[in-house]
Amino acid sequence: MNTRIELRLGGTGGQGLILSAKILADALAAGGQRVAQSQTYEPTSRGGYCNADLVISDTEVDFPITTALDHLVLLDRLAIKPSWPLLKPGALVIADTRLCPELPVGDYRRYHLPLSRTALQLGSERVTNIVALGALVALSGICDRKRIEQAVRAETPRGFLDLNMDALKAGYSVAAAPVAAVAS
């Protein structure tokens, strides 16, 4: 079998999960990797469970839907139930302390991080998805930082460029903070 990495950004509709997944997918594609990005969402435009998934491979992706997650980002407690059965043993789990305060026990690497609080401190909770993206890139090492920065730049309207770049870098910092990692 070829290498296959699977990840999910889980939360609710309107949080920008699909955008973050697309940015990451673009960055990985630019680096020459094969990517399949899928999503599940509800008919409501905001709220309701939503997930944006990525399957990453060195060769063409046969089945493009996630079946065993290597990395999981949780931006709402709603996302725990549908995602937990897919989690691989030892998977990386990044969860927002405020929106997803409690996590099940299990065999995984747990990073309970103040993602939305960091976004609020930057001036807008709306960039929580980009803070999360920064933390995910920093902790998983799945994507070159230069490429993710290029992808964020390419996807961001000019008026939000500084905010998004600050959010991405704040995500790196939050992930690097020594208090971040808590053994499950």
Binding site: M1, A29, Q33, A36, Q37, S38, T40, P43, F63, I65
Partner: protein, 387 residues
């Protein structure tokens, strides 16, 4: 972004695009210059893309008042000589059915995209299904032939959209492009080499005007169409008609015309048929699947083979007319057939008919979720071991 972005269609360029985006790009590449539609999840991205890109190539995009008007406008545009398309999903596909029958009967080339979501009725707008297989073939009243294509990946949506236009133009028929929500909204890294650019052209009326008959099938059962402005006398109607295009209920004329209509597709099966067989030659069990279920089956075949179970996959790419001969060939050495599909048994029904006497089992999931490769692999392995 630009409609015909050279970085997207340039040779060997790998890009990340969605299935619906690929459909819009394929339509532009095929020469589609008219789209009329009414937005509906999960097909709306096709309209959204074409709303931007059609004007850039001097094409026309119209958001109509509803789905019925959309297909009617597409038929009108096509009669005017332009390659035309509409896109919809579920309830919208139901609404278009009467006019799809009109296009089939009056032999108006057009492409109808139906992105399958959960049903019946409004169903599950954002969840996938594969339950419109039969509707795509039999949805309009009366007896009529139609071509239905079922791509299984983002890159195949691009190439099959182009082929849909080719077949519509060549055979003077509506063509339905049928794919599920998963691959519609899935983004994949694809290389669109542009090799499949449309080559087919419609057969237009030529020769002496006095001899022209709009529904004379000639030697290949495909009548030549009168191009507006060329001066050929023509008549188009939804009523049964003779070679002159005018309404008739004369039994001989009605029989002759409908027989020709059916023979038209049968005589061009070499152009129309398309399917893929993966590891079928020595397979004890052949999986038959389309769309996202075929993608799951591809992975399942690998998993089965890794465990020593001889399992293959047969995938119709042209679904209607069904590739019956190719399926029989692919299952020539098989002991059983497994049909995973996101409905209660529509494809299985076809397979059972084609392979009468062969044990055929289904995996039917209609919960709004895609079938997992491991579920297919487990059942296929058990069948291969005689369980």
């Amino acid at each position: 972004m630009n409609a015909i972005d050279p970085t997207l269609t340039g040779k060997n360029a790998v890009k990340l695009i969605s299935g619906n985006h690929a459909c819009a790009l394929g339509a532009i590449a095929a020469g589609c210059r008219f789209f009329a539609g009414y937005p509906i999840t999960p097909s709306s991205e096709i309209a959204e893309r074409l709303a931007r890109s059609l004007p850039e190539v001097d094409g026309v995009f119209v958001q109509m008042e509803d789905e019925i008007a959309s297909i009617a406008a597409v038929i009108g545009a096509s009669m005017g000589g332009v390659k035309a398309m509409t896109a919809t999903s579920g309830p919208g596909f139901s609404l278009k059915q009467e006019n799809i029958g009109y296009a089939a009967g009056a032999e108006i080339p057009c492409v109808i995209v139906n992105v399958m979501r959960g049903g019946p009725s409004t169903g599950m707008p954002t969840r996938p299904s594969q339950a419109d297989i039969m509707q795509a073939r039999w949805g309009s009243h009366g007896d009529y032939p139609i071509i239905v294509l079922t791509p299984a990946s983002v890159s195949e949506i691009y190439s099959e959209t182009i082929r849909a236009f080719d077949l519509a133009e060549q055979c003077r028929t509506p063509v339905v492009l049928l794919y599920d929500q998963v691959i519609a909204q899935l983004s994949e890294t694809v290389a669109l080499d542009g090799a499949g650019h449309a080559s087919a052209t419609r057969k237009w009326a030529s020769g002496p005007r006095a001899d022209y008959k709009p529904y004379d099938g000639g030697s290949d059962a495909i009548p030549a169409m009168a191009k507006p402005g060329d001066g050929y006398r023509t008549h188009t109607t939804g009523l049964t008609h003779g070679e002159d295009g005018f309404p008739t209920q004369n039994p001989e004329a009605v029989t002759r015309n409908l027989s020709r209509l059916f023979s038209k597709l049968e005589r061009h099966r070499d152009l129309i048929d398309s399917s893929e067989a993966l590891h079928c030659d020595d397979a004890d069990v052949v999986i038959v699947a389309i769309g996202i279920s075929a993608r799951a089956a591809t992975r399942a075949v690998e998993q089965c083979r890794a465990q020593g179970a001889r399992v293959g996959l047969f995938r119709p790419i042209t679904f209607w007319p069904f590739p019956e001969m190719q399926l029989r060939q692919a299952t020539a050495n098989a002991r059983a057939v497994l049909v995973p599909e996101m409905n209660t048994g529509q494809l299985r029904l076809v397979v059972e008919r084609v392979l009468a006497g062969m044990p055929v089992e289904g995996i039917h999931l209609f919960s709004g979720e895609a079938i997992a490769p491991s579920d297919i692999a487990a059942r296929a392995t058990a069948l291969a071991r005689g369980a």
